[in-house]
Symmetry: C2
Subunit: 188 residues, 2 copies
């Protein structure tokens, strides 16, 4: 009945993206969200995806080939803290998603890190369309995860409420730190 | 885009209630949720509502008269810590909702309190249908509110995850303590 964090993040993406949008997958990973974004943004839309790991980019490219969605997706093997320089000029972003932590099935010592994650968010938020969402799915059950989680909560709690609404969606009685969501809506 | 707490609580009610259900409004207040519950449970359903204040019961009775939904609703001017003794025998509950704090437009010194609220929740949870929800909308911006909020979080965080899923839905960058939600799903 209650949706888990990943399922709720997909609901939010479906609500915020309209066909033709430019959308950002800031952490491509195994490409599951990239595929969903490509479906939601449609044949006239654009997905730009970032990941520092070659294996993530390669897996996602294969998934895109199989689904025939490749034409609307551009992948960059680049850290998301550099994402802004890959944006087209004068085009608002319809949605941005981060799945933090490590690559499932990959090298667990390679994780997102608080400084580059926050740098990336700060650089992309001004490009977000008013009324649209930047969604962060936080997996904090790895060594650098608690630090990243705390830094993100601290960062997002101080965002000006006139400019942004920040929602926390979290299951709070589970022992093994399931993922939770911070969703940031640009208000003006 | 992001739904506020009250709107999200209504979405959850719509998802959990099926026509014919028995549902509980543990804090009738001005009757807005009572009306919604009566609509969702349908002509064969039953709403049982509780409030300690005569003015709340009276206002809600009038609203029910105007909407023609009165036949499916029973109101008791009784604290919700006594709710269990008003339940029909051998009938599962389809949804339970609490709106904590004071009566809007009423005497702000009369508020829900942590001990009776938790006593009420503990007594009603075993009657909840598996898969259904107990939803708490928490207004903590009054003197007893912080204490009640902290006690409820502590209580719900320790609910056994095999038996319950507990979701917290909260806007975290707003200065004036807007309401937030704790939703408890019974899993077995």
């Amino acid at each position: 009945m209650l949706k888990n964090a990943v399922s709720f993040s997909h609901d939010l993406l479906k609500q915020t993206i309209v066909p033709g949008d430019l959308v950002i997958d800031a952490t491509v990973g195994n490409g599951n969200d990239t595929i969903l974004l490509a479906q939601l943004t449609g044949s006239r839309g654009t997905v730009i995806g970032f990941d520092i790991q070659a294996s993530a980019i390669e897996k996602t490219r294969q998934k895109l080939l199989l689904t025939g969605l490749g034409e609307r997706v551009t992948l960059h093997q680049v850290g998301h803290e550099n994402a802004e320089s890959y944006l087209p000029k004068n085009k608002e972003i319809g949605a941005i998603i981060y799945n933090l932590g490590y690559l499932p099935g990959g090298d667990k010592s390679i994780t997102t890190l608080k400084d580059s994650t926050i740098k990336s968010i700060v650089s992309l938020l001004p490009h977000l369309r008013i009324g649209s969402l930047l969604i962060i799915v936080i997996y904090s059950g790895h060594p650098a995860g608690t630090e990243e989680k705390d830094a993100l909560l601290q960062f997002s709690e101080q965002l000006d409420q006139k400019e942004f609404s920040v929602l926390r969606y979290q299951f709070i009685n589970q022992k093994n730190e399931p993922p939770f969501i911070i969703a940031i809506e640009r208000r003006k």
